[in-house]
């Protein structure tokens, strides 16, 4: 293990290291426990994929909204969900019969937190970060059991600190008449990252 320039006391328990930082910063009046607790509570309780699902459900139901959403993501989202307009720009990319979109952050873990919550572990793994770009079709099939037909192209969107991406999945056939509050049940987090295609499972049983 190389300890050079990796900061103090790497051997110590992360719990103690985080507490030490919080304790010192509070003493220096750069941080408050209230602010830390508030952020934790927002990410544990308020922010999650339901926000993105409600946006997608509206886009499926309202073509004019969809147009606004694809044109300028965050202001359109604010019509449907409680979203801070100071939030990082989110570009919504639409799946079509010809194109399947896939979101990745090749460098670290940039992710549309505001609409999907915190990223799952696999999103942050080195395998996903490199394979999503190198061989997305194979990766989707082998790791996510997600078959993208050969005549459908795959576009990969590399997130960064300025711009995040969210996939607008295609609406599964047979769900056109569902109200928005039932459509949200059809939508999954993974479909908004692009590692799942909604379809067969959502078709009504005959």
């Amino acid at each position: 293990m190389s300890d050079e320039s990796t900061g103090p006391s790497r051997a110590a328990d992360p719990k103690s290291r985080v507490r030490a930082i919080q304790s010192l910063l509070i003493e220096k009046e750069m941080l408050s426990t209230e602010a830390v607790d508030r952020i934790i509570s927002v990410y544990e309780e308020d922010i999650g994929p339901m926000t993105g699902k409600r946006v997608v459900a509206r886009a499926w139901s309202d073509p004019a909204f969809k147009e606004r959403l694809l044109d300028d993501g965050v202001p359109a989202m604010a019509e449907v969900v409680d979203i801070d307009d100071e939030t990082i720009d989110i570009q919504v990319v639409e799946n079509t019969p010809d194109v399947h979109n896939l979101v990745v952050c090749t460098l670290c873990s940039c992710y549309p937190w505001a609409v999907l919550g915190l990223p799952p572990t696999w999103y942050k793994s080195p395998e996903y970060r490199s394979r999503a770009v190198r061989e997305p079709r194979e990766m989707l099939r082998e790791e996510f059991d997600c078959d993208v037909p050969d005549d459908v192209g795959i576009e990969v969107w590399d997130s960064n600190s300025e711009l995040r991406y969210m996939v607008l999945p295609q609406q599964p056939p047979g769900t056109e008449d569902l109200p928005e509050d039932e459509l949200v049940d059809v939508i999954t987090r993974d479909s908004m990252v692009g590692v799942e295609r909604l379809g067969e499972a959502a078709k009504p049983t005959p």
Partner: protein, 124 residues
């Protein structure tokens, strides 16, 4: 239909351990992505470096990721001169030995209400 009641639903828990949540929230709180002034990019650049440093040598887990996150945060604070490495080590030691514990973060205890009306600097 209760679909809109629970915003998390099919998601995994946000954090696997309280220290991960705390490390996450401190970084956010200090930077302009949250409530502070430090440029988020300064933090993120170090996070990228820490992730690169580990490379593919370790299997991905929340523990690994937040360890990288915590190292990035430590480096940012030290590099920006906001925290002195010596005082950080001392403070870590104090938590390791139990001389200090998390009760100091409980609002209202020990008079640690973080108001500006008391002098809390210990010069020895």
């Amino acid at each position: 239909m209760t679909a809109t009641e629970d915003p998390r639903r099919d998601d995994e828990p946000a954090f696997e351990a309280p220290w991960q949540a705390r490390a996450f929230a401190i970084a956010l709180s200090l930077t302009d992505r949250g409530e502070g002034d430090l440029p988020w990019d300064d933090f993120q650049g170090r996070l990228v470096e820490e992730i690169e440093r580990d490379g593919e040598s370790i299997e991905a887990s929340e523990d690994v990721y937040y360890e990288q996150w915590l190292r990035a945060l430590e480096r940012l604070l030290v590099d920006d001169g906001l925290v002195d490495p010596g005082e950080l080590d001392e403070r870590i030691e104090a938590f390791e030995t139990g001389e200090r514990d998390a009760s100091e973060f409980v609002i209202g205890e020990h008079g640690h209400t973080h108001e500006h009306d008391h002098d809390h600097h210990h010069h020895h």
